[in-house]
Symmetry: C2
Subunit: 163 residues, 2 copies
DNA sequence: TGACATTACTTGGCATGCCATGCATACTGT
DNA sequence: ACAGTATGCATGGCATGCCAAGTAATGTCA
């Protein structure tokens, strides 16, 4: 019993799929709203939402290379190249060639970025709190687990469908 | 007890926020994976993922205007202008000025798009099934409800923070 | 060691999204 | 009827994401 196909009228037997039934649609919509809510709260600090996950990764471990950052936040290296350049432009990181491997670029937080750490995390928590307002803690745990499972399922799919 | 602030070491008292704790990060990641999985499955039919929700809306009710389509799928009108043009380019819709209101453009499905309906919905269902593989039905219902609640919470926020 | 493969990053092309602006068309109230 | 407002769409600018292809540096192995 895999899925809910909603038949249209009996006469036409048209196959329908309400947008609310589609995980892609719901998740995409929520993702855009979360990004917007974060953008509203961090713009004044000169940080873009697309740099947020990268900052969190660097807060945990500074000096990562671009490819390490890419894997850490699951973003394509070509996207990371642009994002890191924007972060440099915005005074959040510096880029310096690695000494052990001249292909690599070491990304290091600026003092400014480190000073923003608590503030930025506070803003992210605000967004999280807003999103989960009125939701039961047990349900939140379920959602966390299911989202992780779905991510794992889809990552699996990507790997076994190389191109 | 709103949120889980994870303190770093006792000495530095650095505020940390693992990416896995952030709804924005998880939901964004899942959204990108779902979009990619759909893209892989509908590219051969000449349909882009960014057109999918619009097609679903038009399958339910053909001849919507761009602004009606925008509200239906919660996409900015300026984005819709581009998307509809791509859909026209790809032979999925036609655009014709409305007779009642010359400002409006009526978007109508082509025969080709209508012929793709079942196939496309089948592909979306494949993605949904893949994503929810191994997940309990009761848990899925919880997730659906919580996502809807979060979307409502954030929509609410956007409205009361006009600018 | 020298050919071949791999890795790190960049670049170009494109899709998808938002905001701010501009223009044409409609609507409203006096 | 006309001024002022609102609506529908297009456009420019930008952010964020992907893939494909190119270049430089590194690694591998006969």
């Amino acid at each position: 019993m895999p899925s809910e196909i909603i038949a249209g009228s009996e006469t036409t037997s048209t196959v329908q799929l309400p947008r609310e039934e589609s995980w892609g649609y719901q998740v995409n919509h929520l993702a855009r709203l979360l990004e917007g809510a974060l953008r509203d709260r961090i713009a004044r600090h000169g940080v873009l939402p697309g740099a947020f996950a990268q900052l969190l990764a660097l807060f945990e471990r500074d000096g990562l290379s671009q490819s390490e950052l890419s894997s850490a936040v699951h973003i394509d290296p070509s996207t990371m190249a642009l994002t890191v350049r924007r972060m440099e432009r915005d005074g959040l990181v510096t880029r310096s060639p690695s000494l052990r491997d001249r292909r690599q670029t070491e990304i290091r937080l600026t003092r400014h970025a480190r000073e923003l750490q608590s503030t930025l995390i506070g803003r992210a928590i605000e967004v999280n709190d807003l999103a989960k307002k009125g939701v039961d803690d047990a349900d939140l745990a379920v959602v966390r687990r299911v989202l992780a499972q779905m991510i794992a399922n889809l990552l699996n799919d990507v790997e076994r469908a190389p191109s």
